[in-house]
């Protein structure tokens, strides 16, 4: 079982991602609605992957990636950015910060699962 943390402020999209991964099998999914919750949740289990939205209040996806990548405990966890075509520039910045991949909304379940599995290769 791979531990996956989803950070996304839309509850419905969060649950779509969770269901897609759970149906695909092999994932233990924890989902949270914002960056603060993510910070609180990170120490709770050894996460293998983080899927994060960019546009969120308080702390956004880039700030979260910046935190993960500068933290000795978490820096090796791969991150996938959930983005839209509107946030092209921010996606680039996220990739520059060290995100492993991105996926553009709206996406198909199978594409999400493929992206996740590729990001987890070698872990």
């Amino acid at each position: 079982m791979k531990n996956v943390l989803i950070v996304e402020d839309s509850k419905a999209i969060r649950s779509l991602i969770r269901v897609a991964l759970e149906e695909a099998g092999g994932f233990f999914v924890v989902d949270v609605g914002n960056g603060f919750e993510a910070l609180r949740t990170l120490p709770s289990r050894p996460f293998d992957l983080i899927i994060t939205d960019i546009n969120m209040p308080d702390i956004n996806g880039l700030e979260l990636i910046g935190f993960v990548k500068s933290n000795d405990t978490y820096r090796d966890i791969p991150l996938i950015i959930v983005t839209t075509e509107k946030t092209e520039e921010d996606k680039k910045r996220g990739m520059a910060l060290g995100a492993a991949a991105y996926i553009v909304k709206p996406f198909k379940k199978e594409d999400l699962v493929t992206t996740v599995r590729k990001a987890l290769e070698g872990r």
């Binding site: 419905a12 969120m56 910046g66 791969p78």
Partner: protein, 687 residues
């Protein structure tokens, strides 16, 4: 471990049909879509208010953008094409707005209102599994609005001027970077704030801190950092603010943060524009000055006053010790000269800060026209004394309270045309906004010729709302003043139904609080049937004020001289007690007394036969503040005090006196008089 991205860009959606047919899935979409539209609607209403008062907040625009962005993602994921398409277009428009490329005009706001309304209808149609209505006409309007887009020429290299931590620069979104640039461009001070919290309960701390920072400026970035110990988490925040570093002082102890100004990399040679020979000279001989520079100068003047006072004391001591001899007299003369020049300097700086009230009057008169139209009333606006000058910062702070008073006048004051005709008044109602200089104060009034306020109705309302007991003992005729002041109590509104115009949850208590914060007073004159006038009396500046320094219970206090009417030397024999309150007759009027030492729980000095009563007053209300000793008069600069004391009634701030008396508290006369009034009401309740 990079992945070929193009493989995952799927232009079409999404959730399989089988999912969409499930009612659970649809319900999830509907409930969240409605929540988001609710949030978007609220953000838009705030933006509308902010636009009317001339200060749209970037944070509000961004909140609206974020809501629409989330909506788009949601509609797209669930395969609802029409809402996704429309919100996509709206997101595009809002992105241009938040990047400063499309202005926030009335037309833009109306367009946004219409778009959110249509999004709401589309969601409802999706819920009923109906065909969505045509979105093209609105898309066309948005395209038209986008034509007004302007290129914004912000130097990209502007960020090279400031020395910001690269770790912060790296995590800024495009929008945050834009806000940072705007702040640098506008000459705001940038601060790096570092905080550290326990991981177990950091959210309360960081949220509280963020709120405090937003009160002082714009929070540009919040970057979490690894805590220096297990179980801790750090945050590095970037703030742009017009305020000095000292404005952040209260946060140092309250949140244990460090605040470091971001240093500027500017060098004179790099910045100086290269002028070619014969470059065109400016014909204007005015300069634009950042008001913070004037604040800085005024602070220096305040410090100079302290030094001047120290010299005065030296001169006095010298004369006392050595008599009126050569040195003592010379020092005394030098001090008098210094005093005169210092006053000239101070007046000069004050004069530069002054701007005519006309600036805000014209904004307000536009608002009257708009409100009148909304309320279906005919209203004439009259402006008087637009040339009257007031401190620039005070003018900005006055915009909101004045706007509220005007809304009240339009909404509750002026009657509809038919009702006016029935009362024999002209169809067209009148709202008059006037200003008048009065010594070191300015009197601003907002007047209407509407229905007026009935003290009887106010009193009945207060009783009905449980704010006063039925046997309150107040008489609408003889206690008119006290009764009218009920309108300023929190939660008081005279209408059952909240109107669109003034019913936005802000009451007269907030107006009063805002005016009090400016050391001002507000008073009502009203005549049922003939109209109402709200009279605001404000000092022309808060930068520096004259204060009376007094002593009570072994402590030194400063009282703003603008509130002092008279100083009396009185004897205990003249004090009477009525309903448990000490009062004194002053020129035929019974004035309640407040023993300052008792009010602040200091050792009282009751045995004394003689005492000083400082008569202070606002409008028709008077209070005698009993003190042990008078010290002197002094120019003071009021400084804010730490958060812990900020809500303490009776204290307006602190000031430094410059001798061994150190820092003393400045009394908030308004709230002291208010407190004594509350006491009277409580007495009325009890009796």
């Amino acid at each position: 471990m990079s992945i070929p991205h193009s493989a995952f860009r799927t232009p079409h959606s999404v959730v399989e049909r089988s999912d969409m047919n499930s009612d659970r899935s649809l319900k999830e979409f509907l409930s969240e879509a409605e929540d988001i539209l609710e949030t978007a609607g609220q953000a838009l209403a705030s933006l509308d208010d902010e636009q009317r008062s001339g200060r749209p907040d970037p944070e509000t625009v961004n909140a609206l953008f974020r809501a629409v962005h989330t909506f788009k993602g949601l509609a797209g994921m669930f395969g609802f094409k029409a809402p996704a398409g429309l919100s996509h277009k709206m997101e595009f428009l809002l992105d241009e707005v938040r990047m400063g490329k499309v202005g926030i005009t009335r037309e833009t706001l109306d367009l946004l209102y219409d778009t959110i309304a249509l999004m709401g209808r589309l969601v409802a149609q999706a819920g009923k599994k109906q065909e969505p209505e045509d979105i093209d006409p609105l898309i066309g309007r948005i395209d038209e609005a986008l034509l007004s887009k302007q290129a914004v020429s912000v130097e990209r290299s502007i960020l090279d001027r400031v020395d910001i931590d690269p770790a912060i620069l790296g995590v800024l979104t495009e929008y945050e970077e834009h806000r940072l640039r705007e702040n640098v461009q506008e000459g705001a001070n940038l601060y790096t704030v570092k905080a550290r919290f326990q991981l177990s309960d950091f959210e309360k701390g960081i949220k509280g801190l963020s709120e405090e920072l937003k009160k002082r400026g714009e929070l540009i970035c919040t970057l979490p950092t690894a805590g220096d110990a297990a179980g801790a988490i750090g945050f590095t925040l970037l703030v742009g603010s017009p305020r000095d570093r000292s404005a952040f002082d209260p946060l140092l102890s309250a949140y244990g943060v460090t605040v470091t100004p971001v240093s500027s990399r500017e060098t004179a040679s790099a910045e100086a524009p290269k002028l070619e020979a014969g470059a065109i000279r400016s014909v204007s001989n005015t300069v634009r000055v950042d008001i913070r520079r004037l604040d800085g100068l005024m602070n220096s003047v305040g410090e100079l006053h302290l030094i001047k006072n120290a010299i005065a004391r030296l001169a006095r001591d010298l004369r006392a010790e050595h008599g009126v001899t050569g040195y003592a007299t010379s020092l005394h003369k030098a001090h008098r000269n210094l005093d005169r020049r210092l006053n000239e300097l101070q007046e000069g700086i004050l004069a530069v800060r002054m701007v005519p009230l006309g600036q805000i009057f014209s904004r307000l008169s536009q608002a009257v026209r708009k409100y009148a139209k909304d309320a279906g009333k005919l209203i004439e606006i009259e402006l008087q004394g637009e040339e009257t000058e007031l401190d620039k910062l005070m003018i900005e702070e006055l915009a909101d309270p004045l706007m509220h008073l005007i809304r009240n006048a339009v909404d509750h004051g002026i009657e509809p045309p038919a009702e006016r005709a029935a009362r024999g008044k002209p169809d067209r109602g009148m709202v008059r906004l006037s200003a008048l200089p009065k010594g070191n104060s300015v009197v601003i009034s907002v007047e209407d010729d509407g229905a007026g306020i009935s003290p009887e109705a106010l009193l009945a309302k207060a009783v009905a709302k449980g704010m006063l007991p039925a046997d309150h003992g107040l008489d609408p005729a003889t206690d008119r003043k006290e009764v009218l002041d009920l309108i300023f109590l929190p939660g008081f509104t005279t209408r059952e139904s909240v109107s669109e115009i003034s019913g936005r949850g802000v009451g007269m208590d907030v107006v009063k609080k805002n005016i009090a914060r400016l050391s001002g007073m507000i008073d009502i004159v009203t005549e049922p049937g003939n109209g109402t006038r709200f009279v605001l009396t404000l000092p022309i500046t808060l930068a520096i004020i004259k204060a009376l320094i007094i002593e009570a219970g072994g402590q030194v206090f400063a009282i703003p001289l603008s509130s002092v009417l008279e100083i009396l030397q009185a004897r205990s024999g003249g004090v009477e007690t009525i309903e448990g309150r000490e009062v004194m007759a002053i020129r035929g009027e019974t004035v309640p007394l407040l023993r300052l030492a008792k009010a602040f729980d200091l050792p009282a000095n009751n045995g004394r036969e003689e005492f000083y009563a400082i008569l202070v007053g606002m409008a028709e209300r008077r209070l005698g503040i009993v003190v042990d000793a008078l010290r002197d008069q002094q120019e003071i600069v009021i400084k804010p005090i730490s958060k812990r004391f900020a809500d303490l009634p009776g204290i307006a701030g602190a000031t430094e006196l410059g001798d061994n008396r150190g820092v003393v508290l400045v009394l908030d006369v308004e709230s002291l008089v208010e407190g004594s009034f509350r006491h009277t009401l409580a007495g009325a309740k009890a009796s």
